[in-house]
Symmetry: C2
Subunit: 351 residues, 2 copies
């Protein structure tokens, strides 16, 4: 058991970063020692003021835009990095944290399995982390858990694994303005397709990461990977707290992917995201079907909500990262995730 | 990657041990170098003859009742021990294997979390394993996965965990004569209750192990634990390949348990096992409900069959055990289970 509190810095204080702060403040054995964000409306303010919470730590935390200052003076055990979706964008930040000798958990979707899209950066991060004796992990609810790690875990009771069909059918209604824009909610079909053709629709980032994680976990390789994106068009008006799509317009994005493994087996991924799916009788959930011996037919319904799920798994993986060997890790390298319900220090076995 | 094949000895060649042999013979990178069993009808025979399979290894394996001879001469990497349900019974065998400097995976239900019922033996095994630089793991489909590790894993996306309700509703029909007797299939209610009162009904072994595993994973303790067992009485005649229960007699066993955690939250366990549940409209499956934020409502239906599930997870955990630090480990200490679909040596990172 660790004696001192686990010192955390959060870099990126949007929906994810501030959600993690709120979660950590409810847990025992943590100490938030720094918050970094560039948004000038919050820089210089107390974290507690921005969160609208009473200060329950023994010191205040003033939000700063100077990460070097925070890392040098606060010497955290770990940085929660909630700034990017792509490894390329997260990389210089991760490099800086590593070089300060600090462990990192990144929310960047591509970082959940960086070998899939950025094998060279993955190799560099791994070497740099080992040299600086720290551990780097990317995780989230998806990629990171519901469409990959959970399928890997279920395959553990299987003698033979055949084709897989992994679906995440979720609602975008709990999300804010940014997600509505990213997912094209409210656009006309023409506007959506125009953006799609110009490569301006991000959709879900992470299919490639998920299938590479699954393949490598089973000891296989990916021979072929393809994914596609299309608008979900609503035939009724739909309204969510931050989104509106009128009849005939776009209420979300349907993504699917197909990966062929080097043993000929196929992984199908299906992930439609829309506001107010219940209005049209779509029941949301996470579904994993694996053909083989025995077959797996897993459903978690309704789905694990993306925001709270990602916030939770990033915070919950802190002990596993602190206990790990140095290097770049993924969810298949570390012990299974779990909620932290007692004092986090009881879960830290490496001093 | 390991260069030599992974050398396996199987101790106990009943339904579990022989099933593991069959599974391993279909995989790449393994070499079964010894089988130990005391049953004189098979001692001295070829493993392949007993399995009714062609020899696809480059050498034969003659079943022996002399484990010391096997361990001394074959120098395996790991022993799959499929002989006992209780830690006390498995302990002397595990001790012997450890002292030969060999890793162990045990199917004994209590070994899935030996701290629950045998904390002193657990400590001894841990010390002995560390001294001899080997790893010991107990696992199986239940305990080991469907009623514990999977709940732990799902809690990883949760911010707050409240009460849990974990059910495994399964069919006994695929099982053989021994299981029918153990579970009281075909007994009159009077006979069943008489055996129950005399402490002669084993029922399911593992609830205590499962709840301790869950509690410790979350950083909590168990304040109170109780379990109960009762007959499932059929109101129609039921017949399975190896079992028969006439109307009014016992067709299986219903077990339930309740554990109160030191934060006041409760884990309910429910595990009815019977032959031909479909005849009375019982749909089988593994169910995990966790109240909290977010709530989890997981179902795998039908259930992962006990025999094939245990065989698979024991074999599939071999790489994790070979990669682990020395000591007594449980499923929450090791990376998530996964099927071995490629050459097992690719999954061995520790030489």
């Amino acid at each position: 058991m660790k004696k001192e509190k686990v010192k955390i810095v959060i870099w990126g204080f949007g929906a994810m970063g501030s959600g993690m702060a709120k979660m950590i403040l409810k847990k025992q054995g943590f100490d938030i020692v720094g918050i970094c964000d560039l948004y000038d409306k919050i820089v210089g303010k107390s974290m507690f003021e921005v969160l609208n919470l009473e200060n329950n730590q023994d010191h205040d935390v003033i939000i700063s835009n100077d990460i070097d200052d925070i890392l040098t003076n606060q010497k955290p055990d770990l940085v929660l990095l909630a700034t990017d979706s792509f490894t390329k964008g997260a990389y210089p930040k991760i490099k800086k944290i590593i070089e300060h000798g600090v462990n990192v958990i990144s929310t960047a979707e591509e970082m959940s399995y960086p070998l899939a899209n950025q094998p060279e950066l993955a190799k560099e991060m791994d070497e740099l982390a080992k040299k600086n004796k720290v551990t780097v992990l990317g995780t989230g609810v998806n990629p990171g858990m519901m469409m990959d790690l959970l399928a890997v875990c279920m395959s553990g009771v299987m003698e033979e694994v055949d084709d897989m069909e992994i679906s995440r059918i979720n609602s975008l209604s709990p999300f804010g303005k940014t997600v509505m824009e990213e997912q094209g909610v409210g656009l006309s079909v023409e506007e959506f397709n125009d953006k799609l053709n110009k490569g301006q629709m991000a959709g879900h980032v992470g299919f490639k990461e998920s299938v590479y994680m699954i393949a490598h976990a089973l000891g296989l390789e990916i021979d072929h990977f393809e994914q596609s994106m299309k608008a979900i068009v609503t035939d009724i008006n739909r309204k969510s707290p931050y989104g509106f799509a009128k009849k005939g317009d776009v209420c979300g994005v349907e993504m699917s992917a197909k990966a062929i493994l080097n043993n000929g087996k196929v992984i199908h991924m299906y992930h439609p995201q829309q506001i107010e799916p219940e209005m049209v009788g779509v029941s949301t959930g996470d579904y994993i079907k694996i053909k083989g011996k025995p077959a797996i037919n897993l459903a978690n319904s309704p789905e694990v909500e993306g925001g709270i799920g990602t916030i939770s798994i990033c915070v919950n993986m802190i002990p596993q990262v602190l206990n790990a060997h140095p290097g770049l890790k993924t969810m298949i390298d570390l012990p299974v995730p779990r909620a932290i319900m007692g004092d986090v220090r009881k879960l830290i076995i490496k001093e």
